[in-house]
Chain length 449, copies 2
């Protein structure tokens, strides 16, 4: 018999991990709901026609396709190359992100939705990336988006959601970095190379990885002149407070009306007069975000500097996402939480509260039939009061039963031995302190487990 | 452009439905936790070697296989028939149920688990069944199982879980029907045809659908004599209270020690002295349950007779499930909730509580910049108090804003017009009663939305 295993890049989540993950999901969900976002769930499989071409060539390659059921042999024989074969054998693929299914849903349900439609979605996605530390083939995305509104109030609220979630998670020192794609467009405009906007954006996006020299080299290879590159470097070198940065941008990009609009959008978001942030977002002109569909504010969340983790969330405004499915002119803005990385950060900083692990509070030992019946009555009474309780499944050695409690991390053990049974008492042992006390059987339901 | 659609047999769940479904999941999860069950999540994809052959031929056919990534053309060319082709192109499949992945998990983690291991799991599974009313290609299963214990206390607790969940859901008239596979085995033993146990079980399982005459015909086709069939019909005709049925079974199957054991197991479960049930399980000798791996008590939950729905849950005891993966001798018992059907039943009987729909409680209208800023302050204060609140995203016609509140089902609208702003008041309108009142701005956070 082959030793059982799971596909590479996938994970089992045992009880301890599920509970911790649920603590994160629940915290985020509560905040989404407070801000009026509504839950959506879409199928794991989408038609290939919905997904193909939406994530670039790379995406088409990394998508997990589902084999058609039934007889496929004859179909396969007709194919003359790999591409034909795949399209002959498969018409569905696994969800690759939550954004495209969301856009598809909006288009299919446009007449029933109250606009603006504020939705959140927390579901797994699948990508055939090469598995490595921190990168999985099945992972959860956790998104909130608003479509059907151009109001910058949405940007403000989404930043507040980040702010609130991380503060509720007890995560201090999180940095919200913001930029605006209109500013990047303006930069390309000022040097007269708007056709190279994507190349410029992609190069800037790599600044962290390849450094200023690397960016310079790449830009030069992509056909930018020394003068162009100098302007871009001037742009990337902008520093100071957020206000100072915006002021410098106003000057440097004064010839681009688009950039000016982007700058004013950022200024509004940073200091709208509507609210104040716990941790104030900072302008980062080097922030580009790889994905192409952004057109307005973009945001990235950096984990506290004390942990080496990088981005734990990001998002931005996009125009016309639903245009892909025939419904043009609907603007949207959204954010995403990187749950796996947030998990690692909370773990490293020991920020999971004990309550996130709360499971069975007390195990009643099973010490013979009459004793077990008495114990079971208490167990049921506690459960009715909302306290998770168990009775050991069989009357076996006390030692074995204690080990079960220990292995499960159950904090209290209740004992009804012969003397307790006769005297109508229950012995309760706190496994953390080792302290043991006898209480009247009638008061068990009032004990603080 | 093609009108977007989703694969047949799959569903989008919009906000209203997600909330109702979550109400069911949450109710079940809470009860599982009270009984000391622990959450487990396994990957959507399993290795084909894990799943193949575990669900019969039918299952192998209905499994959704995932196409290998990369170049598959050369591999495909080598295949000479459908079966070879599928196995050349695919090494993973989507989860088909939660039981086999659970068994696989137990075997892989046997050294780390506290035994008995009580786990629950609520995840989608995928089957390429022909879609029809109430049957989907993606649907959730919701299971609780205990492995590593032969104690009948587990059966008692699982029946109590059913009892508690349905009582918390407000669902009255649910019937828990129980039987024991040892009794069915005993029946085959008494007529000397244990080799035909599966055939007998499958025929009895169809009694509801094909009637007594149909069963008789099928059994005869399967090679049973008239005398055998008479005994089986005597067995199926057993009636009376559960106690009376058990007594009649003791007599009819007196020559089968296995049957006697099954009868005593049922007697214990029905009246263990440990507890009393809200709705007492009833013995149903005609209950067989199709799946083959059961070896002890089996249970099926019937929806209240007032709704035509049939089974909304089921389970039973099985031996040696983990033996499939090389870990023999571990007995288990489990139950499952049919969430889609429970949803339909609660909908039909209008049993979803209003709180299951709770979303945004109050919408603040957006009536100009200064007004909106004042409103936003209230919105944030309410959110900080845990009350979901929204401000309309832009200053537009009041009528349009009211329509949004209405379409979203938001119960209250708060208005800060010019006079309210000057007098430091807020008008609050209850959209259900139409009642409107003005309150001091400082008291908004204390208003009962």
């Amino acid at each position: 018999m082959i030793k059982p295993s799971i596909p590479k890049g996938t994970r089992d989540f045992g009880p301890v991990i599920v509970r911790k993950r649920n603590y994160i999901f629940q915290t985020i969900r509560e905040v989404f709901e407070l801000y009026g976002f509504q839950p959506l769930e879409t199928p794991a499989m989408e038609n290939l026609s919905t997904l193909t071409g939406k994530y670039g060539e790379e995406g088409d390659k990394l998508m997990f396709k589902v084999l058609n059921n039934g007889e496929i042999f004859a179909e396969a024989e007709k194919a003359t190359n790999n591409k034909e074969l795949v399209s002959a054998l498969s018409e569905k693929a696994l969800r690759y992100d939550l954004t495209i299914p969301f856009a598809r849903f909006v288009v299919m349900n446009q007449n029933d939705l109250a606009m603006p439609f504020k939705r959140y979605q927390m579901q797994p996605v699948w990508r055939a990336d090469r598995p490595q530390k921190g990168r999985y083939r099945e992972f959860y995305q956790c998104d909130a988006d608003v479509v059907g509104s151009n109001s910058l109030l949405n940007e403000v609220e989404l930043l507040l959601i980040y702010d609130t979630v991380f503060s509720r998670l007890g995560l201090q020192g999180v940095e919200l970095r913001v930029n605006n794609r209109k500013i990047l467009y303006g930069l390309a405009e000022v040097i007269g190379k708007t056709d190279l906007l994507t190349d410029i954006t992609i190069s800037i996006d790599k600044l962290d990885k390849i450094g200023a020299e690397g960016v310079r080299k790449e830009l030069s290879e992509r056909g930018l002149s020394t003068e162009d590159i100098n302007t871009i470097e001037q742009f990337l070198a902008i520093d100071g407070s957020s206000e100072e940065k915006l002021e410098k941008l106003r000057n440097l990009l004064k010839d681009s009306p688009t950039a000016q609009k982007g700058i004013e959008e950022l200024a509004f978001v940073l200091n709208s007069g509507y609210t104040s942030y716990n941790s104030i977002p900072v302008v980062d002109v080097t922030l580009a975000r790889g994905l192409n569909y952004y057109t307005g504010m973009i945001v990235e969340v950096k984990a506290p500097a004390t942990v080496k983790m990088g981005s734990i969330g990001g998002g931005g405004r996009y125009d016309d996402l639903t245009g892909l499915f025939g419904l043009p002119g609907i603007s949207g803005v959204g954010i995403s939480f990187g749950v796996d990385r947030i998990y690692d950060v909370l773990e490293e900083l020991k920020l999971f509260p004990e309550t996130a692990q709360q499971s069975t509070r007390v195990l009643f030992l099973n010490l013979g039939e009459a004793n077990a019946r008495a114990a079971f009555g208490h167990v049921q009474a506690l459960r009715n009061k909302g306290i998770a309780a168990e009775i050991y499944h069989e009357s076996s050695k006390m030692d074995k039963q204690m080990k079960y409690a220990d292995k499960r991390g159950i904090p209290f053990v209740a004992i009804i031995g012969e003397s307790e049974l006769q005297e109508n008492l229950v012995s309760i042992k706190n496994l953390q302190t080792g302290q043991q006390e006898k209480i009247a059987a009638a008061t068990v339901a009032d004990f603080t487990f």
